[in-house]
Symmetry: C2
Subunit: 150 residues, 2 copies
């Protein structure tokens, strides 16, 4: 099973879904090893906001941070983006209508089409985005469901 890769893809794509984080990555592409303050300077948001974005990028493995004295240098990494590209390449092959390659490719079983199952460990900590299982409703709250129209 490639669930661990799935979680890595979750974080990679989630990290890339925000324009500020893509701009941060692009900035590091121009000039790797910038400090946090240098990275944050052109952005119209506060430094703690940029810090949060860098946290997301670090958790996704897209950057690494190394502290020297009081400054932290941020650098791009390669691995998780390669995995995202792999996924996109597979998608590209689906709609290219090359059915022979497609059939052979699907039968490699490297492509999880079965629905994601939430990890049975760490139920108290939300480990994945899609989660099944009913949420507990506090007493006295109204249950979900559409009210009749009348």
């Amino acid at each position: 099973m490639v669930k661990y890769k799935d979680e890595a893809l979750d974080r990679t794509f989630a990290a890339l879904s925000d324009p500020t984080r893509r701009a941060l990555l692009a900035r590091l592409g121009e000039q790797d090893g910038l400090s946090v303050s240098e990275l944050a300077a052109p952005f119209p948001v506060s430094l703690p906001a940029i810090m949060k974005h860098l946290d997301v990028l670090t958790d996704a493995g897209l950057i690494v941070r190394e502290k020297t004295g009081r400054t932290v240098a941020c650098r791009l990494t390669a691995r998780p983006m390669e995995q995202a590209m792999d996924w996109l390449n597979r998608y590209a092959q689906f709609w290219s209508h090359n059915l022979d390659r497609l059939t052979a490719f699907v039968e490699q079983e490297t492509w999880p089409t079965q629905p994601p199952t939430p990890p049975n460990a760490q139920q108290s900590v939300q480990a994945s985005r899609s989660r099944a299982g009913s949420a507990r409703r506090p007493k006295g709250s109204t249950p979900p469901g559409r009210k009749p129209r009348n």
Copy 2:
């Protein structure tokens, strides 16, 4: 400016950040044109939950839906994923250390490194993920900020 492409990238990467949605796309890669019920059948969540995921995929332009009678067929599309691949390819070139190509590439100005600016129209509708500007606090609520440690 390529802000419109940026918003499309927002939606594309956000759509891909969820494992259920990626599984839906993979399922359609195996067999295009499945109906909503057929798509939903293997998933352990409710039909409206799958409907919501399909809404996200449709808004991102990754699938199209066409109704025939009472069933809706879902099909993969190509365009937005190509744009996501373009972005990833550029990132790949950054860490491949090809500085000549990198410099020439950056100077094409097709790669927005400047911080994203939220659209000045549609302030009432949240159009982009990163947004500046202070939120209004209700009267009587405590202001943000860390409490002193003592």
